[in-house]
């Protein structure tokens, strides 16, 4: 009898094939995310991409305020923690003085689409050659489940106790669609991680975004990941992932919103 790193007791561990392992670019530590939260999945995908592309020695990440504020405890990459909403300004500062480095931001919906809207729009408009990962879970998870700019109409949160009323709180913002119409954007896509299939597609998109930056393609690479928040939504992870399929993706459909012209 032997015990794996995850504490699973099994027979003849040394005779078994390793079919899945944690990338070394993730710290060997439990995350602070709730069970079933999409953050952990997306963290893993980005770190796997960094490992597979061999860019660890050149990559700098920026994570601002939100559930992912401690991203540097999980992502074993050089990182800067930014003020709420300012991740892309911080990333701009890094990329402008070190144009050969690979820079990415990892931002939630409150950060990227509410308090940081100006930075988001102008960073993409300048065509900063960075990767922006946008975690859209439709709620403020860290502060306890308040309305986000992306909260769907009718959804109950702690600050929309009767459900989001578009006449009062406005509409769920479509910032990824706004990103896609800007000339500075190079690649804009919306992905999800609520099933094995979407996880695989999401990783492919993240990899493409980083590859574009490595290749020096001019413009911003923007990957929205429609995510869950089981704790904030007050659902089990399975129910939360189901809600994404049944409701969220109707309003935020998956797919590429802007792809580079052929041959570019």
């Amino acid at each position: 009898m032997e015990t794996t790193r995850e504490g699973i007791v099994c027979n003849n561990l040394d005779q078994m094939d390793v079919v899945f392992d944690r990338t070394e670019v993730l710290h060997d530590t439990p995350t602070s995310y709730c069970p079933g939260c999409s953050h952990s999945v997306v963290h893993r995908l980005i770190m796997e991409v960094i490992e597979e592309l061999g860019i660890l020695g050149d990559t700098i990440g920026v994570a601002p305020v939100g559930c992912s504020v401690f991203a540097y405890h999980f992502m074993n990459v050089d990182m800067q923690q930014a003020a709420h909403g300012r991740a892309t300004a911080v990333a701009t500062g890094i990329k402008r003085v070190l144009p050969d480095k690979i820079v990415y931001t990892y931002q939630g919906d409150g950060d990227l689409a509410a308090i940081g809207t100006a930075e988001t729009i102008h960073t993409i408009n300048r065509g900063e050659n960075i990767v922006m990962i946008f975690i859209n879970n439709g709620i403020y998870g860290m502060t306890g489940g308040q309305m986000a700019p992306t909260t769907l109409e009718g959804d109950v949160t702690s600050t929309t106790p009767h459900g989001r009323d578009t006449l009062i709180q406005g509409h769920a913002i479509k910032i990824t669609e706004m990103a896609a119409i800007m000339d500075g954007a190079y690649y804009v896509t919306r992905q999800a991680v609520n099933s094995a299939k979407t996880v695989r597609k999401c990783k492919k998109a993240i990899k493409q975004a980083f590859q574009n930056q490595i290749d020096g393609k001019i413009g911003t690479n923007f990957v929205e990941v429609v995510s869950n928040c089981p704790s904030g939504w007050k659902m089990t992870p399975i129910e939360a992932n189901k809600k994404i399929d049944e409701q969220v993706l109707d309003y935020y459909p998956l797919g590429d919103l802007k792809t580079p012209p052929k041959g570019a």
């Binding site: 003020a83 911080v90 003085v97 102008h122």
Partner: protein, 357 residues
């Protein structure tokens, strides 16, 4: 020293920054500092740096944050309302111990105020400005020459202490033209190796570096605060700078910084012509404040007059320094008005009567 040039204060400051090896400038237009931004736009790219006009002062200071985290010499400049917008970012930088040079070419407030010169941002500059317990190193030039000189000092201090340095100028110093000479400054000789903490990628698999101002454990956050306070104490002990003018025999001591020290200097000449023994103590560093020198001078002078372009801000630090040892009076103009030498002389005469010399 090079040859003498006739330049605006804003331009002299920008030229000095380029000569001091600034590699990143991020800013936003606002009067009366826009020439600084424009000088950078015209000259920095061709001389080895990066200029970027941000979408706001909020974005600009965060660009400075990001670039500073790579160990690059970076700066921004603005004027009062813009400096208010930067406070959040400056507080983050103070906690994360990121070096940078900040410039506030102060205009009259509060609110949108006026574009004329003022010293109304003294409290904001020396008492923190943003949230939390932190200090900036604050340098106060009083001439176009010093607008240049203090840039070199500012970069050296910010690198040495890993603490943001602020040059607190005003609209007149930014706009007025005087002759200036740029000193010899070898950037390489002043290079500080920050590679033990900068975020530039984990080259050769070295351990992770990260920059943060978040420490949720109170014990850890207190530790960070104690470390910062120790650093400020060290700065206080080692970096206090001031100029004394005819203080040896002075009955009345004027304390003034920046532009109001220039008016005070003329007032000193006029007063001395009338046989009044007046001296000036001009703080060059506003933090650290020359409290010890003031305490020392309080033993020999009969009265102190603080002259400022505000409602009385530095005067509080003067009173804290000298206590009740000597009467401290104040003369200030506000809203973009500059204290005139004859007004100051009148005030000196009043003080003479008060202290019955």
């Amino acid at each position: 020293m090079g040859k003498k040039l006739l330049m605006k204060g804003n331009e002299a400051l920008a030229e000095a920054a380029i000569r001091a090896g600034v590699k990143g400038y991020f800013g936003y237009p606002i009067t009366p500092q826009s020439e600084l931004l424009e000088y950078m736009a015209t000259n920095l790219d061709s001389r080895g740096g990066v200029f970027l006009q941000a979408e706001s002062e909020v974005a600009a200071i965060n660009m400075v944050y990001g670039a500073s985290g790579t160990g690059t010499r970076v700066m921004t400049s603005t004027s009062s309302p813009g400096f208010s917008l930067m406070q959040e970012g400056i507080s983050y930088m103070a906690c994360a111990e990121l070096p940078c040079l900040l410039v506030n070419v102060v205009r009259g407030g509060p609110g949108l105020g006026t574009i004329q010169p003022s010293q109304g941002d003294y409290f904001q500059a020396v008492k923190g400005g943003g949230h939390g317990d932190y200090k900036l190193i604050v340098l106060a030039p009083n001439s176009v020459q010093e607008m240049a000189d203090l840039v070199y000092l500012g970069f050296d201090l910010t690198d040495k202490y890993r603490n943001p340095v602020l040059i607190l100028a005003d609209g007149a110093l930014g706009q007025m033209m005087e002759s200036v000479e740029f000193p010899e400054y070898n950037v390489e000789e002043h290079f500080v190796d920050h590679s033990s903490w900068t975020t530039v990628g984990r080259e050769n698999g070295r351990e992770q570096h990260y920059i943060t101002s978040l420490h949720l454990l109170s014990e850890k956050m207190e530790e960070i605060n104690v470390h910062l306070q120790d650093k400020y104490k060290k700065i206080q002990e080692n970096e206090t700078r001031f100029e004394s003018i005819q203080t040896e025999d002075a009955d009345i001591l004027i304390v003034a910084f920046g532009l109001s020290s220039r008016s005070s200097q003329k007032a000193l000449e006029l007063a001395r012509e009338q046989g009044l023994k007046v001296g000036i103590l001009r703080p060059i560093t506003l933090f650290p404040f020359p409290s010890d020198e003031l305490k020392h001078l309080a033993n020999s002078v009969k009265g102190i007059l603080v002259v400022e372009m505000n409602a009385g801000q530095m005067v509080e630090d003067v009173r804290l320094a000298v206590g009740s040892n000597v009467p401290v009076d104040f003369y200030g103009r506000m809203g973009g008005m500059i204290p005139q030498p004859d007004e100051i002389v009148d005030k000196i005469k009043d003080l003479y009567k008060q202290v019955k010399i």
